[in-house]
Amino acid sequence: MKRRTFFRNGILVSSGLLMAPLARAQAKPSAAPLTAGQVVQVKGASPYEITKRAVAEIGGMGKIISRGDVVMVKPNIGWNRTVEQAACTNPEVLRAVIELAFAAGAKKVVVMDNTCHKAEDCYLRSGIEAMARKAGAELRFSDENRLVVHDFKGEVLGKWPVFRDHLEVDKFINVPILKHHGSSGLTMAMKNLYGILGGNRGKLHRDLGENIADAANGFRCHLVVIDAWRVLMRNGPVGGRLSDVELRQTVFASTHIMHADVAAAALFGRDAREVEFLQAAFARKMGEIDIARVPLKSLAI
């Protein structure tokens, strides 16, 4: 990291931390629907514990899940990579989310993703298959026979095939990993929604930012938990080289997908205003793009 970016990010993050309560106070009367989304950022010694704490801090899973709900937990299992290579969601973070969902009364928790590499390999190698089974979740592969057309009603993304499983559940929890991404800059919660899409997803890389924003705007996530335990800083989204991975020991939780992404981008050292899909999301009035105006609560345990 260059000294200049270090200072810039340092100032950005710390000013964000300082001004978060202020921003909330200011925002309340004027634009309440925009800034309602609280983000909690927790740093700590165990990915499992910080995830539990982060969810508790935004009000607990009980506020999100009702008794008897069928819950989809959608991690990023896109690549045939190990936990250390940090291309897929950390299984420990996933375990915490699944356990919390069950504790809040979920009837069933489903884990699935539409992978980029061969699905069986990704599920296995990421450690997610073993962990999801252990936590009692149902593991599903994306089945092309279960595609239905969903209307995202976006500016560029309209009707597109989506796996029925994601539409048929009561609650959808988006559990991405924060990492570098060649074409979109970063991938977090909004980009993670590409994993519910079927069809020729590559086509959606033209106007990628607009499409990501439309996907996030046209599909409801009830909870977003971003894993930033290990962060792939370069050569994403697939990575592979351990020297590109940095240990950040952080998890974000929010019910607001854009704010979660803006906060995670700040941790990565990227101003959200430089990220194309966040600009597009801002243009769609999905939330604040200025980290200083995002209600962010940051704590370390």
């Binding site: 045939n80 060649g182 590559g202 033209r206 050569n235 697939v238 080289r241 590109d244």
Partner: protein, 516 residues
């Protein structure tokens, strides 16, 4: 031997066949989708095959595992064609289909010699050709034939049928749907592949395989008696074997022993030592316990065997010369450019064509369905050799399965680290169709997927003239040839639907470099 003991022997033989068919399928199915560390020893049956011992002797560094083939070879000199009757998994399948269509023989005449003889002549043709580096034994060898057919047709076909049946059944809203849906969920989890596997020319490979199985209904073990080169090799040896069937004085000359004889002969009327596979059917059928196994020392008595005829043998050898020469004078032998890439570890093309036995074990092991049986891309001689076809799949960076299952090391055995370095080919961008050049749009799907940690596909921000001459910024993709390993994932994910705008070709492929 009375028919009770004969029945016991027959049952033992059937048990043995079921066992080997099961073992074969178990190993083959297991090798698909298994983790690299847990790959089963699929080469077992190939190592037991003397024909491949021969192929291996002729094609560079000798693999000691093929010495295993000496065991059935020597046992054949003692027992006769026990291997065909008791061990061979393809023989087992043919025996089963023969049994399905079994009828008593009506004509109690001598068995026709022509069809039996054909396999010997074929063997001569293939052996002579193999001396001149045209290695075609794998086309007909029973293990290659079976592995190839099961991997590329039987398993994917079965997967499709099961998937389709359960899926359409599960859509029913009544009780049938309720009954089928859990079955479907179970199969999705543990039986079916997540994506349907597809292969080149399934019709050709499948029709050949199922056609051969169906021919058993017309003629007992049609393939084994008529075409099998391995059967022919064992037949040559079996005429000198110690064990033989013999009719004793209790024989009533009823010729009932012809009723179910596997080669359609009979111990009484038309015993051919070279054709008998020791199936034991005649022992069961004989009403008088008049047939025995007997040891016959070399140099004593008559050894009834098929007469091949000197002229026919010479003719077959001549045909072998023709077959040997034809592929070698094809232009593909000289052209330095070729329109295909091979899976990782492939040795230089000339050596590859000698070593590869066209078995398709690599096609079964490939997790991404990228390894495909060639049609004519590699010349007629290269029929059914493995190609890496990015249109179908890509070479998974974290995988070296195909290099581990190849029984002949035509795909040299590579460790995962070696494989990651092995350059299969190089990607080339077609600037007239790539979105980032032709249309001025951002895309970079290939860049995203490039598995090389340093990224062999990179982005270059440029300004181009867009619509109405307005300048706009585009991230154009470009390939760093020195870093590219040719895995083909870029080609397989390129979103263009007419033809991929990035292709992997054989340029700079590592295997052609004699010093590499």
């Amino acid at each position: 031997m009375d028919s009770k003991r004969g029945r016991r022997l027959q049952r033992l033989r059937i048990f043995s066949q079921v066992f080997f068919v099961w073992t074969f399928f178990y190993l083959l199915v297991k090798s698909g989708g298994a983790e690299v560390a847990h790959l089963p020893q699929t080469g077992l049956f190939f190592y037991l095959d003397p024909l491949f011992l021969w192929v291996n002797l002729l094609s560079g560094r000798f693999l000691h595992a093929f010495l295993l083939a000496l065991i059935p070879l020597f046992l054949t000199l003692v027992l006769g064609r026990f291997f065909c009757g008791w061990v061979c998994p393809l023989g087992g399948l043919h025996q089963f289909f023969t049994w399905l269509g079994s009828r008593r023989s009506c004509k109690k005449t001598m068995v026709a010699r022509g069809p039996l003889r054909l396999k010997y002549l074929l063997l001569i043709v293939l052996l002579v050709a193999s001396l001149f580096a045209s290695q075609l034994l794998g086309w007909l060898d029973p293990f290659s034939l079976l592995t190839r057919s099961v991997a590329t047709v039987v398993l994917p076909g079965g997967n499709f049928l099961l998937q389709h049946a359960l899926e359409s059944g599960g859509q029913d809203s009544g009780w049938a749907g309720k009954a089928v849906r859990p079955l479907y969920e179970f199969s999705r989890r543990s039986l079916l592949t997540v994506t349907q596997r597809t292969f080149l020319q399934p019709a050709a490979i499948g029709l050949l395989f199922f056609g051969l199985l169906l021919l058993n209904l017309r003629r007992r073990r049609f393939f084994c008696n008529t075409l099998c080169p391995l059967g022919a090799l064992y037949g040559f040896l079996a005429r000198f074997s110690l064990l033989r069937l013999a009719v004793n004085e209790k024989c009533r000359k009823c010729n009932v022993c012809a009723d179910h004889c596997t080669y359609s002969g009979s111990p009484y009327q038309d015993y051919l030592k070279s054709e008998c596979v020791l199936c034991g059917n005649c022992l069961v059928d004989c009403p008088a316990a008049a047939i025995d196994f007997r040891f016959q020392l070399p140099g004593t008595g008559k050894r009834p065997a098929l007469d091949l005829g000197r002229r026919r043998l010479l003719g077959a050898a001549g045909c072998g010369l023709v077959v040997a020469a034809l592929p070698q004078v094809a232009v593909s032998r000289q052209a330095k450019a070729h329109p295909f890439i091979r899976p990782p570890g492939a040795v230089a093309e000339k050596e590859f064509l000698k070593k590869c036995i066209r078995c398709g074990a690599c096609m079964q092991a490939c997790p991404t369905n990228a390894v495909q049986p060639a049609v004519f891309q590699a010349g007629l001689e290269g029929l059914w050799t493995p190609l890496l076809l990015p249109a179908s799949g890509y070479c998974e960076y974290e995988c070296n399965r195909c290099t581990q299952v190849c029984p002949t090391h035509a795909l040299a055995s590579l460790t995962l680290e070696e494989k990651k370095q092995f350059k299969i080919g190089t990607a080339v961008i077609n600037r007239s169709t790539c979105y980032t050049y032709a249309d001025g749009y951002n895309c970079a799907v290939c860049e995203e997927h490039c598995p090389v940690p340093e990224k062999a596909i990179r982005l270059r921000a440029v300004e181009v003239q867009g619509f109405r001459g307005r300048l706009k910024k585009v991230d154009q993709v470009y390939v760093v040839p020195d870093l590219c390993i040719g895995c083909g994932i870029c080609e397989s994910v390129c979103p263009r639907t007419d033809a991929p705008a990035i292709r992997v070709g054989a340029e700079e492929e590592q295997r052609e470099n004699p010093y590499g």
